[in-house]
C-alpha cells in the first residue's frame, strides 16, 4: 500500500479520535474515503492499529511506569 495513503489515513484517524471535526472536515474525510477502496482499506488498517494500541494497557509495563514516576522518561523519549 502507498505510504502516502497510509499517512493520510493515520492523520484523519488522529483528527477524529482527538478532536471534534467540523461538518466541513467530515465532508472532506468522506470525499477522501470515496476516492478509492485503497483509502478505505488504509483507514480500516490504522483504525485496527489504534484499537490494538488501546488493548496494550492489558499488558503491564512496569518499567515504563517506573520511568514516568521517577522522571526518567528521557530514557524513553
Amino acid at each position: 500500500m502507498n505510504v502516502h495513503i497510509r499517512e493520510a489515513a493515520a492523520q484523519w484517524l488522529v483528527e477524529f479520535r482527538t478532536e471534534k471535526p467540523s461538518v466541513a472536515v467530515r465532508r472532506q474525510f468522506a470525499a477522501w474515503l470515496r476516492t478509492s477502496p485503497e483509502h478505505i482499506k488504509a483507514y480500516l488498517n490504522v483504525r485496527a492499529l489504534w484499537v490494538l494500541g488501546h488493548a496494550e494497557q492489558r499488558l503491564p509495563r512496569q518499567q515504563f511506569h517506573h520511568a514516568l514516576v521517577t522522571g526518567e522518561l528521557h530514557t524513553y523519549v
Binding site: 493515520a10 468522506a30 492499529l49 484499537v51
Partner: protein, 176 residues
Amino acid sequence: LLPKTKKTFVADIAAKHGQRLRRFLAVRLRNTADTADLAQEVFLRLLRVERFEQIRSPEAYLLTVASHVIHQHSLTNVSMPVTSDDFDALLDELVATDSDPVAQVHLERRLEALDRALARLPPRTRAVFVLQRRDGCTLDEISAQLGISRGAVKKHLAKAVAQCSRQIHETPQESL
C-alpha cells in the same frame, strides 16, 4: 435462418463488434490495461449462453454482458471508485466506534507484533503513542509531559499509527 454453431456466432460478433466492445470497456475502466482481459471475459460468457439463437441484437447483448463484467470487475478491483449507497452508514461507524470484532482474534500475538513495531519507532514518537493509547493521556497532558506542542503530539501520533500499521499489516504472518 441457417443453423449456426455457437463458436461461429461468437466469432461473428467478435469480428463485427469487437472494436466497439473494446472502446466501450476502455472508456469505463480506470485502468485501460484491463481492457483486453475483460473483452476476453465477455466473449467467454457469450460462449456459455444457452439460447444464443434468440439474441436479436448481438451488439446490444454484447454491451449488456460487458456492463455486467465491468460491474463485477469494479467489485474486486481496488482502483475503482466507491459508489455504494451504504457508504454513509459505513462512514458513521468508522468515525464513531472502535468496535472491531476481528481485532479480538489472536490479541496477544498481535500485541507482540505491535510491541515489535513500536520498538522500531523513534523514542519520542513511541512515547506519544503509548501515553495516548495505552495510558489514555489527553493531547494536552502529553504536550505538557513531553514539552512539545499539541500539534506536534498529533503529528507523532499519526506517524506512530501509520508506521506500526504498515509494519503489522504488510507483514503476512502478523496480519491483523
